[in-house]
Symmetry: C2
């Protein structure tokens, strides 16, 4: 693997040094911060130069940044985010494309693209990201690093730019599982507590079926290794068996979560875009057209479906249960391909990927992606998800399985 | 009681008419919206004229407003909020003081002051509010109406101005318990589900002890009426018995929740205040001085304590359990008293009130205040709280007890 430095990775928007406030659990570790999370006295770009120019500098670090500094970690810079974080590509019109060191001709994935790249290039031990529709999980998987989206609202979002409040989370991308666990436990403010052992591993059929056959094959060995685990039941399960509803994973996204997300994103960005008419990259512009043309007055069924699905997954899930599936159902697309000229490629990437990422999104579950496999040298992540608020169990379970 | 109209109530910032999108569960009901919640094509003031002047109009209604319109309710206007919602007074430097019709010489309480006033004056059936440290519960109690703060993050906050994301909620103030329940069920997207009966009513000793003796006496009859309920155990309980920690209710607020709130509020407001140097009312300015002088680098113990308390209350609480206590431990202060000239009165009002409101705040519990009693003609609310995410049970329990 070719090596990249802070410049050549193109992962960073700004480099600086904020020393830890004191020693602590994260002593000796360095981290970077996705540029939709405030750093004191600096302007947060949200992945958009016009946003940066029309908003004042932050008066304070985001709470999550302070937590890491209080725990002994050192902050080294801000990383590129996709434009207004509304993308899973990692190709930013204003700031360029952070390198995917495992596949330099491919996208890193987004929107925490710079955070994934910085970790994958070995420039930091871990990085803060945010995840709404997959923005931590997707770039972590495509760049071959660990990443965790926590349960909805377990981590403070103060000082993080609002996006889709019913879905957005703050989380971590890391180079190892112990580092991921340590950083996440600081942010989650985890207590000493007894955690159940893993009892059931549910292989989510619908997600495996959506995945490219090569990805299924590549992950089959990892999945087979679960069979030897003592006291663990491994079982293939369909979304229908979990929810009791005759609903595909695609519909789970398209008829439920995506509607809620789209509505909330319009609330977060609409007023500013209308008033400022900012320069926009072509991909953002195309995506945002869907937001603007969306009929908000007809979304009550979708909102209710989201809540019903959340409640049904919660009712199904027991302590000790984990769900397992491919993090991303496709390999990293080549750079420059996901444009309006290749609409089919764009739709395939988004529709399949978000069908899979919507499972944890709707159910507000914590999910960890682990870089376990590869296809033609390209990283492939396997995800584990656990019940709502079972973040510490999930971290513990991942470490027992692969630590 | 003297009657007030839309003008003389001083509850409204703007009056307009948004008809329902269709018929539904809220057909025939009118509502108002606290002015930190977006209404399309209008500028949201956040209780501050300079904020209104420096931010663009909203491109969309907040999701919670759309939910009510989709369910058949009619929106009639925006109500006064306390300045940047950082107050429990209801006396706004820019917009004046909404009338407390039950005690016109007293404050209505804040920060959902206009929403409480509009409901108490009989001008709307219900109103949207937000609650961080008591901003729905306090004005509902002081004005003698029903109010509910839901479990943290059960209701979409898209289109609601960010304040303290780890504590802030969207909720409802209403003239009757059935209307409160109906509106809340729409916002919560409640499913048909079996709900447990009330099994235990825990009278929170620490909160009763903090309350004025006259308030304790006034509520004693309501509390005594629980004794006749079949299959219900009524038990006085201390915070120490619930959490297993030797911590007073004041400390629960001052050493835990208030620190988290203060940090998060600084994130929400700090950049804008520093860059715009906006006109501020004297009470806001005095309060915000504490936010600015606060040492963020030393808050990790408080953040950890918040999470520990949340986990301990969650571990204690069983389905069918409710906690019961005075909503506000003091009677509505006279208008114009809570100023820097009467610092002792200000501290007494805030320290005691927020000690009580912090119980649900830290534990992310849903809480309903019910206007059950009075002292010298002044309304006194009794609160019920239930476990995290047990919102539907709490609404059902309240209706069984007092519907």
């Amino acid at each position: 693997m070719k090596t990249y430095d802070f410049q050549s990775s193109n992962a960073f928007v700004e480099l600086f040094e904020i020393p830890p406030y004191r020693s602590g659990a994260l002593e000796g570790l360095s981290f970077a911060v996705k540029d939709n999370i405030d750093i004191r006295d600096r302007s947060t770009s949200y992945g958009s130069k016009p946003w940066r120019e029309t908003h004042p500098p932050a008066a304070h670090h985001a709470v999550c940044v302070e937590q890491l500094l209080m725990a002994g970690a050192r902050c080294v810079g801000k990383t590129v985010a996709d434009e207004l974080t509304y993308s899973l590509d990692g190709e930013n019109h204003f700031y360029g494309t952070p390198v995917n060191p495992r596949a330099p001709d491919r996208i890193p994935g987004g929107s925490s693209s710079g955070s994934a790249s910085a970790v994958a290039c070995g420039l930091v031990d871990f990085a803060l990201g945010t995840d709404c529709g997959g923005s931590i999980r997707v770039p972590a998987s495509l760049c071959g690093v660990y990443g965790m989206r926590p349960s909805l609202h377990r981590i403070s979002e103060a000082g993080v730019l609002p996006f889709a409040p019913s879905v957005s989370t703050v989380g971590v991308l890391a180079r190892t599982l112990p580092v991921l666990r340590q950083a996440m436990r600081v942010l989650l403010r985890s207590q000493a507590q007894a955690l159940p052992p893993v009892r059931n591993i549910y292989l989510l059929q619908d997600a495996f079926e959506i995945a490219d056959p090569a990805i299924r094959d590549a992950l089959s060995g990892c999945v087979a290794s679960f069979d030897g685990l003592p006291h663990v039941t491994v079982k293939s399960i369909s979304l229908r068996e979990i929810t009791g509803l005759d609903l595909s994973l695609r519909s789970y996204n398209e008829d439920a979560l995506r509607v809620l997300q789209t509505a909330e994103i319009a609330n977060a960005l609409g007023g500013w875009i209308r008033a400022s008419q900012p320069e926009q990259g072509p991909n953002f512009r195309a995506g945002y057209r869907n937001v603007e043309s969306f009929d908000r007055s007809a979304m009550s069924d979708a909102l209710n479906l989201c809540e019903a699905l959340f409640a049904r997954v919660a009712a199904f899930t027991r302590p000790g249960d984990v769900f397992c599936y491919p993090t991303v159902p496709v390999l990293a697309p080549k750079k420059g391909v996901l444009t309006g000229r290749n609409l089919d490629a764009v739709l395939d990437y988004y529709d399949r990927t978000m069908a899979v990422t919507s499972f944890a999104g709707v159910a507000r579950l914590p999910e960890i992606t682990v870089p376990l496999a590869q296809v033609d040298g390209l990283p492939v992540g396997l995800s584990l998800a656990a019940g709502h608020y079972q973040d510490e169990f999930l971290l513990d379970a991942s470490l027992r399985l692969w630590g």
